[in-house]
């Protein structure tokens, strides 16, 4: 019964959204720095990098968290790839993707690409992979990515057994071409194709699935040399890779760490080359520890507090209350004192990584995201005060370091209201329990929400979170005007106009405040003296192929 004196949380439910990003931290000790040096800038040096045990088998359509995504990003290339710097979706395997009506697309796959086992990458490689990912029998967690393709309801019905084997909207029309029919207009659909779920799969995947899962085979710049589950995956440069982004190092050893602090300590002692998540407790001293070997770059992650619209105290007609809470939180102080610059106060519902062109616009939230305790108190009083005179902030506490900012936010609210027990934190023990409570609509006050983008589109920051009954609309907010603007934006063929429509939709969020934007999250990493050219992409994953060793 001595138990743990204090268990630091582990990435329990590392999941697509924020939980994952914050918990990235894991990885393992290294054959790191010293030993297997090699290299000397000649592109053969091998680096060690921190990793967390992927939560699911490494199938592309089944990987919905960062750690598995990291590997897929190294061993697969899809039709599109998001530029590591700008996030812009650029053609990779796609020769071209054409459409006249934003609903029927013709995809041409570049010739000459191969999987690392020698199989050529053809139109069929994509169509088979997507059919596999969508089909209910395969129970893939990313199946919903295919939901816009016609025939999804037949292969993945909400109830009962599937009535079709393949998606009727997908047709192979030649060796390197296939057509896609969507079930609605979606002008920016091609830009979603950089996501891992859309990766092509070799025949080997279908012929011997178990062997493939043990040692995945893809078409990216690296191939898997060995995979010891739970401890280390060795990836080596694939010499015959034909793409433009050949690896500039000899390979990467991904080491599983049980805790990001262990990875950080290993980095400091020279046993690890790259730790891609700096523990919150070390942020204060990281610059003195690492100097310019510490990077801190914006990522497509936003943290918010959502409200339960099924609760009378917070739902319809309580805009002022929600806005008041927003104004009572001192974002500047919290990001500065607790996060030491690895978070930036948010003033809209997207992320700066989208860029102005992509739809990010600072200040859409207006004064409602500015800290002003007096105005906050006034707004809350006008709304009739807190429901029942008190409120809780709810979050799971097993992942990330959520407890600290929740405490700080509550203190900020309490100080604005001049009471010391008005706001308290309501911790939930596990991520699973938290998700179940949200699913059962048991929230009684603001609760942690957050979003890590799947792909760098403004649509991805708005539709899944605030559209009526969308899959991550946890607060069950529903607004006709918002829905209408999103629909219009999706149908808009001109990107610029589409973005503007989305921003109009965002203005509805400012008026209604269904979720309070708190801060944009950066990715942070530290690396050893052996490495140069270390960067993080907008998904806060290191751009491994560009790293030079030696």
């Amino acid at each position: 019964m001595r138990g743990v004196t204090q268990a630091r949380p582990q990435a329990a439910g590392r999941a697509r959204r924020f939980a994952c990003a914050a918990a990235v931290a894991l990885a393992a000790t290294g054959c790191g720095g010293g030993g297997n040096g090699g290299g000397g800038g000649d592109g053969t040096g091998i680096l060690s990098s921190s990793w967390g045990d992927p939560q699911n088998p490494l199938e592309p359509a089944n990987t919905n968290e960062v750690q598995g995504g990291k590997v897929l990003d190294m061993i697969f290339r899809g039709l599109k790839r998001y530029d590591p710097e700008t996030g812009e979706a650029k053609n990779m395997l796609a020769e071209k993707i054409e459409s006249d009506d934003s609903q029927n697309f013709t995809v041409t796959v570049k010739k000459g690409w191969k999987f690392s086992n020698g199989e050529p990458v053809t139109a069929k490689s994509f169509v088979d992979a997507w059919n596999y990912g969508a089909h209910l029998d395969n129970a893939q967690k990313n199946a919903y990515f295919f939901e816009y393709i016609e025939g999804y309801d037949e292969v993945h019905p909400e109830e009962g057994d599937p009535s079709a084997k393949t998606l009727s909207g997908l047709k192979v029309t030649g060796g390197q071409t296939f057509t896609v029919k969507l079930n609605q207009k979606f002008s920016t659909w091609p830009e979603t194709l950089g996501y891992n779920a859309f990766a092509p799969l070799p025949k080997a995947f279908f012929d011997d699935h178990d062997a493939w899962v043990k040692k995945p085979v893809g078409n990216g710049p690296y191939q898997v040399e060995s995979y010891q589950k739970g401890s280390v995956m060795k990836l080596r440069k694939w010499e015959d890779y034909k793409g433009p982004d050949k690896a500039r190092n000899g390979g990467v050893d991904l080491k599983v760490y049980t805790d990001n602090n262990a990875a950080y300590t290993d980095l400091l002692s020279g046993n690890l080359d790259l730790a891609d998540d700096i523990p919150a407790a070390q942020l204060k001293n990281v610059e003195s520890d690492l100097g310019d070997r510490y990077i801190n770059e914006p990522a497509g992650i936003i943290q918010t507090l959502a409200f339960p619209f099924y609760d009378k105290g917070w739902g319809e007609g309580k805009e002022k209350l929600r806005q008041g809470i927003s104004r009572a939180i001192d974002r500047e102080k919290i990001t500065e004192q607790i996060y030491h610059g690895t978070r930036t106060p948010a003033s809209d519902w997207t992320s700066p990584v989208l860029g102005e062109k992509g739809g990010y616009q600072a200040g859409i939230c207006g004064e409602f995201c500015d800290y002003d305790p007096k105005a906050a108190k006034k707004l809350i009083d006008e709304a009739g005060g807190l429901p029942g005179g008190r409120m809780t902030l709810t979050s799971n506490v097993d992942t990330g370091s959520h407890r600290v900012w929740l405490d700080a936010a509550c203190n900020s609210i309490n100080n604005a209201l001049g009471k010391d027990k008005a706001c308290t934190v309501n911790p939930v023990g596990t991520f699973a329990d938290y998700r179940n409570q949200i699913g059962d609509e048991r929230m009684t006050g603001p609760f942690r929400a957050g979003w890590q983008m799947d792909y760098p589109l403004i649509q991805n920051f708005l539709q899944p979170l605030y559209y009526t009954n969308a899959s991550s609309n946890d607060g069950k907010w529903s607004n006709k005007e918002f829905d209408k603007l999103v629909d219009e934006a999706n149908a808009e063929r001109d990107t610029e106009k589409a973005v503007r429509k989305f921003q109009d939709a965002e203005k509805v969020l400012a008026e209604q405040m269904p979720a309070i934007p708190l801060w944009y999250q950066n990715g942070s990493a530290g690396f050893s003296e052996r490495l140069t050219d270390v960067k993080l992409n907008p998904f806060s994953v290191p751009v491994y192929d560009q790293i030079k060793v030696g």
């Binding site: 204090q6 600290v404 010391d420």
Partner: protein, 333 residues
Amino acid sequence: MPEPPPPAQPSPPQNPHEAVAPTGSGGAADLAMTEAETLEGGGRTAAGNVHNKPRSLWSDAWRELRRNPVFIISAALILFLVVISLWPQLIVSTNPLHCELAKSQAGREPGHPFGFDTQGCDVYARTVYGARASVTVGICATLGVALLGSLVGGLAGFFGGWADALLSRAADIFFGIPVILGGLVFLSVVTSSTVWPVVGFIVLLGWPQIARIARGAVITAKQHDYVQAARALGASNGRMLLRHVAPNAVAPVIVVATIALGTYIALEATLSFLGVGLRPPTVSWGIDISNAAAQIRNAPHMLLWPAGALSLTVLAFIMLGDAVRDALDPKLR
């Protein structure tokens, strides 16, 4: 006030306890000891008892305790802890729940002698106010664990056989429950913001350890000749347990319990960390120590004070335990 009994003679009969050489040789020696015990027992009663009232070992112990400076110091410390637990405002005027993030991890300043924690709360106020929850959890959980554990372990060790098998195996099953799992299952359904669910939980999972210790001690004590003698003389089970076995088996229980007191206060932090311990806005040393631990490189003062308070509490109880143990050991008189 009656005089304390004459100082113990350093003669063998006074202490039959463990008188046999470890090789356990010879029934003759055993017999002799048994007799000696009986005679000595009688003699002592006659000699030490002016008022002709049987003096129990327990009242002797109390008499002994009152004169022990270690006991007096520890009792004073514990009294102090109890007083500030009940009335923290006696020695602190700041509000432990008022926190200014601008002061995050700042050092000491006038009015804030211990500095500030990460949230910018006053460490002094939190250390003093934290006593209530922590001391309550520590003392109540330890008492509960010690009583339940000694009872179960004592009975199992004393009676042996089926009773032992049943009680010990039940203890094994409870011991197998991981703290984290138990905490998440039993405490996540509780919404009470008092310390009692946490105390109850610690008792529920903590008793098997003390039970094992108590059982081992009772098995040893039971072998002593004076116990065998008492049994031979037809003493009842209850009498033997209380008068002969318990006083000789209590020492290891006291030792483990006093140290466990400290670990229970820390365990409360683990539970809070898991989101199932004391619910906010309760202030406790455990929670503050847990928050400070991660910041040890940047703000060691955050750890120093609550951990120091915890040390002081454990020290008080270890001293108390030592004094009680000494008082119960006739050899030391």
